[in-house]
Symmetry: C2
Subunit: 261 residues, 2 copies
């Protein structure tokens, strides 16, 4: 039986439940993080816990335990469950802190070689800088993407700009410039920070301006990033094929992120 | 021990739980209705079930049972729990249908005599015509309202128009005109339909146009409506006192709705 941590205690995962009348269910009142465990170590843990704290504060649900305690709980779970690699999830609601794990998400090499298909979805997340369970827009956008055989839905805001995906950050390359949305419009991705750092090291000028969706076809190439995919090139959006002029740089960014883990 | 209905079966209410990794929790993927039981009868039941069906369809979570079955479950709960009056909640998620009840919400007479205080909150609900648990905006707006000693937060959209409250519809009266938001901007309130009908009977011209928040002070009076409050006058919004020139009509609308129940 798979186990998990609830408020510091090791419990069986299937006991982790919340009341159907709790604000967690009735009002999507919770925040979360997902992170990777590689070689029995939680990757970029400090960054994820800092963001969890920020998200919690933003919805007026402050953490009642320190980041150090949560780190210890995670270490304990990794040890007791003898986890080598996994996808880890921290959920913080009024009930407390749940730490669960599942198989590491790994995408086939072909995704990185051929790129993935995306669609556009018109909408803006409420509190885009915060990672909350208020995810109905993202859920419906992903349902639409799946129905079109696409891997991700890219959100287009009221100014017709592509800000982010439902679970990814978004980037467009033109010559030696990397365009990505203004910080206040998107989640401050733990992987995003690294994408930007590596892009700069590769000689890119990083421009914080979400590109117009009508202009995307003119870019040299576009890609998405997240904890589980690192950096992943986009081959087409809707019916429009993307160029692959600087694809090798995207793969290089991906490889560099994986080396940091 | 209080009981409830889960997928047709009578169960103890505190057994109604959902997994912390279910889309119900992680993605606010559920819809709901709240209604009143008066004299052991669910009020406006047909309307509430029609809206539940519509909400379910809109988030691609179609009801698996008929409205007739749900009605029978509700009747059964009312009988088995010997309910005379109550607030009833129907929650529909991937787990199924939960029917729970709590004490009838009754506001003191003074609320109707003196009106209630509101605040403005800038924001728009995602899918405003659908009643979902994607309620983080409403939750944060209500937290702000409570911190200011206010009863309700009125949402102001990007066009500076007052569309609705976090759990209410909103109306402004000028002479014999009643202003309320365009249908597509707000929840099609079960009580709202009745407010509009009664206002017309009282000789009002109903204009479907959400008023600008800067103009609200010029109206003769403003009010909110919901299942639990019927029609309730607003005495002030933020620091601005509202006029009470047609207050008696608001009370008349409230009384007429209560008579229909």
């Amino acid at each position: 039986m798979k186990r998990a941590i609830f408020n510091g205690k090791l419990v069986e995962e299937d006991t982790l439940k919340v009341g159907v009348l709790s604000p967690t269910v009735t009002s999507s009142y919770s925040v979360y993080e997902t992170l990777r465990v590689i070689n029995s170590r939680a990757v970029f843990l400090r960054d994820h816990l800092m963001r969890l704290k920020k998200s919690s504060d933003e919805i007026y649900l402050p953490l009642k335990v320190s980041e150090i305690e949560i780190s210890e709980w995670i270490e304990n779970l990794i040890k007791c469950e003898d986890i080598s690699s996994a996808q880890l999830r921290i959920t913080h609601s009024e009930e407390g802190i749940f730490i669960t794990y599942s198989d590491l998400i790994a995408y086939p090499d072909s995704y990185y070689e051929d790129g993935v298909k995306c669609i556009y979805f018109f909408g803006e997340r409420f509190m885009p800088t915060v990672k909350t369970s208020n995810r109905l827009l993202s859920t419906l956008a992903m349902k639409r993407a799946e129905s079109k055989g696409a891997f991700e839905a890219l959100l287009v805001n009221r100014r017709e700009r592509v800000t982010e995906g439902t679970r990814t950050n978004f980037y467009a390359i033109a010559d030696k410039s990397l365009y990505t949305a203004e910080d206040e419009l998107v989640l401050s991705g733990v992987t995003r920070t690294r994408v930007i750092k590596i892009a700069k090291e590769l000689g890119y000028k990083v421009i914080f301006e979400a590109p117009k969706y009508d202009d995307i076809k003119y870019f040299d190439s576009v890609f998405i990033s997240s904890t589980s995919m690192a950096a992943l090139p986009v081959s087409e959006i809707g019916d429009v094929k993307m160029k692959r002029d600087r694809w090798q740089d995207i793969i290089r960014i991906k490889d560099e992120i994986r080396k940091m883990e």
